[in-house]
């Protein structure tokens, strides 16, 4: 395996990691407020297609990025309306969001399949640092979305851990009646959390369609939205651990298309002879294995999940 290939693997690790981190960070916000949103896959698809179309139209990746975030927030708003305001089952609503979002994305994007926008996100070589051997390319010569994701991660951590708003959000995720009694609006907090979460997922989708795999094809999200949902559990609902998990999953996602080109043997088996389809199961198997290991290690400890996660709240219900 060449040095360039190895650096390329880690460059891609950071990028795939950013993709799932952004989406998972959004899901983390919603879940900390007590709302499970299984619609991440659909929101990412909607973000990917709308971002791509705005990118085609305007030629500005940033306009596309924020448009995708707005669409993601809007789609998340539907989940908020149905599951938070109306109090319907969060699992059902989220699944409908994924199925409907994938369908709508396919419909909306049917005429732009195969097109390529003129401007995509470009790598941001940070002066002086980008030239450092190995580390320069991996950490200091990435597209701006990577650095934005780091900043957003820090911001989410700060808001959740250090501000009154964060306290209220975490409280509503633990016990809605208590938060309500204190005078915060449960509906407003939870709806806002779900919509901000949707914006993150939508933005992640546009990173996919405007940088990682430029263009739009049906099914291009390919399960990364679901990996993001699993990542929140892996990250124990904490932004810091989420980032570590994102790098781990980013590594597997980056490894899968590259493994074939590496001239290495594992246990006497030539890796390049393994079918790409079979290597494609790697991230998904890893997710299951990791979830099982975490649960095994935590089997005697109380759950760290937000206590009110998935439970609808209706005020003054009798």
């Amino acid at each position: 395996m060449s040095e360039a290939a190895l650096v390329g693997l880690f460059v891609a690790t950071v990028q795939f990691g950013t993709l799932v981190f952004l989406a998972a960070l959004g899901e983390l916000i919603a879940e900390r407020a007590g709302v499970l949103n299984l619609g991440v896959e659909g929101m990412m698809a909607m973000g990917a297609v709308s971002g791509f179309m705005v990118g085609l139209e305007t030629g500005s990746p940033w306009a596309a990025f924020f448009a995708a975030a707005a669409v993601g927030a809007l789609v998340g708003g539907l989940h908020a309306l149905v599951s938070v305001v109306m109090g319907a089952d969060q699992v059902v609503s989220g699944l409908a969001l994924t199925i409907g979002g994938l369908g709508l994305a396919a419909y909306v994007g049917r005429n732009v399949v195969g097109e390529r926008p003129e401007t995509l996100f470009t790598d941001l070589g940070i002066a002086g640092l980008a030239d450092i051997r190995w580390f320069g390319d991996i950490f200091f010569n990435q597209p701006p979305v990577v650095y934005l994701a780091v900043l957003l991660g820090l911001a989410v951590w700060f808001v959740l851990a250090r501000t009154r708003l964060g306290l209220a959000l975490r409280a509503v995720g633990e016990s809605a009646p208590t938060t309500d009694a204190v005078g915060h609006s449960v509906m407003a907090l939870r709806s806002a959390a779900v919509m901000v979460g949707g914006a993150f997922a939508g933005a992640a989708g546009s990173f996919l369609s405007l940088y990682m795999a430029p263009g739009w094809t049906e099914g291009m999200v390919a399960g990364r939205g679901w990996i993001a949902v699993a990542l929140v559990i892996f990250g124990a609902w904490r932004p810091g651990r989420l980032a570590l998990g994102a790098l781990l999953f980013g590594f597997t996602l980056a490894l899968q298309p590259r493994l074939q080109t590496f001239d290495i043997e594992i246990l006497g088996l030539d890796v390049s002879s393994i079918s790409p389809a079979l290597l494609g199961i790697l991230p998904f198997v890893l997710t299951v294995v990791v979830l099982v290991i975490i649960s095994w290690r935590h089997r005697h400890r109380p759950s760290v999940a937000p206590a009110a996660l998935g439970l609808p709240y209706r005020r003054e219900e009798r």
Binding site: L36, L38, L78, V82, M86, G87, A88, D89, V91, V92, S93, L95, A96, L97, I99, G100, G101, L102, G103, L104, A106, Y107, R110, A176, P177, D180, E218, A222, G223, W226, V229, A230, I233, S275, A277, L278, G280, I281, F284, V285, T287, V288, L291, V292, I294, S295, W296, H298, S303, A305, A308, G310, L311, P312, Y313, R314, R315, E316, E317, R318
Partner: protein, 374 residues
């Protein structure tokens, strides 16, 4: 500021879910109409074509039944797990696993007579679905790992394994270079009913009836529902929750696997990565609309079968078949919202208008199945 408050109705509208379903269909059709109209199609023409393709004439009805069959089976699979509060959202993958094992058996035993081979394939299909469910089921029952994530992850695994089989080990040597698996033997096709409909429909209806009776009339079914609705009570009654979770999930996986075998022997000519065709995912909507009740699964599967046949037919009008996915999701959303309105009434309250102090969270709290994570 006035704000809406939802208050549970004391008298519930009769047949709530059936009405909600109808409202859902109507709402979805209206929203679909707007979508079609804004993208330059004639909604009347599109809907007429969909209706004709799904209902007019025996061939059309047969096609609807052909599609309703896997939907009913995957819907039942989801409902079996759902009747104890579990979510099998990986029926899509278990269907693939079932079809894969059934196809493998057919390759090895193609000398057998038709009925024997079909029986063997159906049984191995059930086994295939169960095998894929085994990991998630054990993780859920013994470690409390969310079955939602694990069952879904294995969908991608199952589909990619079939893609691998297509390109490599099971590639048909007579396929002129195309990456396809050899067709299932001639004698291994389910007897037809009329048109494209086959007796898989009767198998599905029979299973739904059996499950309906088992859940409502047997001690096993009672325990299953009890374990789902109030685990603590079930525990005091000496019911093993672990075993119940395990059986419900394995059964669910087995039925989804059966759906794969039925699809392979009834409709498909060969195992292919597109065989499950979203039936497993649509089955979740079917079961959710049916509130996990077998009778509801029958109705919802039929309607969704019709929507899908209609969605295919409008491609000749230049309309994307993605419309049918959108319609299905919108039916579910609208029905969810409608059901809330049927069970609750809205009262507008001013800031000082709090009449009740006993705020209660609509949660099962301690008495719900606990799990790590989701």
């Amino acid at each position: 500021m006035m704000r809406p408050v939802l208050i549970r109705r004391e008298r519930v509208v009769p047949a709530t879910q059936a009405v909600a379903f109808v409202v859902g269909i109507a709402t979805a059709l209206v929203l679909g109409l707007i979508l079609l109209w804004t993208s330059g199609h004639s909604p009347a023409e599109v809907y007429e074509r969909m209706f004709d393709a799904a209902f007019m004439g025996t061939d059309s009805l047969a096609r609807t039944l052909e599609r309703a069959t896997p939907l009913a089976l995957t819907g039942l699979a989801v409902a079996v797990a759902g009747s104890m509060g579990l979510w099998n959202i990986g029926a899509e993958g278990q269907m693939m696993a079932g079809a894969t094992i059934a196809a493998g058996v057919a390759m090895g035993a193609d000398g057998l007579s038709g009925p024997l081979l079909i029986a063997l394939m159906v049984v191995s299909g059930v086994a295939g679905g169960m095998v894929l469910m085994l990991g998630p089921a054990l993780a859920r029952s013994h470690l409390g790992v969310s079955e939602i994530i694990t069952t879904l992850m294995l969908v991608y695994v199952a589909i990619r394994v079939v893609e691998w089989l297509e390109t490599g080990p099971w590639k048909d040597p007579e396929s002129f270079g195309f990456a396809v698996i050899e067709p299932v033997p001639e004698q291994a096709s389910l007897p037809g009913l009329f048109g494209r409909a086959h007796i898989g429909t009767l198998i599905a209806l029979g299973l739904l009836l059996v499950f309906s009776l088992a859940v409502s009339r047997t001690a096993w079914g009672y325990e299953l529902r009890l374990a789902g609705s109030s685990p603590n009570t079930a525990r005091y009654a000496g019911i093993s929750l672990r075993r119940k979770v395990l059986t419900a999930l394995l059964l669910s996986g087995g039925i989804a696997g059966l759906a794969g075998a039925v699809q392979l022997t009834g409709s498909a000519t060969r195992l292919e990565s597109g065989l499950s065709n979203g039936y497993g995912f649509a089955g979740i909507i079917v079961a959710a609309l049916a509130l996990m009740r077998p009778s509801g699964v029958v109705v919802a599967a039929f309607v969704f079968g019709a929507v899908q046949v209609g969605g295919q037919s409008i491609q000749t009008l230049g309309v994307s078949s993605a419309i049918s996915d959108i319609l299905q999701a919108m039916i579910l959303f609208a029905a969810l919202v409608a059901a809330v309105f049927f069970n609750y009434r809205i009262r507008w309250r001013g800031p000082a208008g709090r009449e009740s102090s006993d705020d209660e969270q609509a949660e099962a709290g301690d008495d719900a199945l606990t799990m790590e994570g989701v």
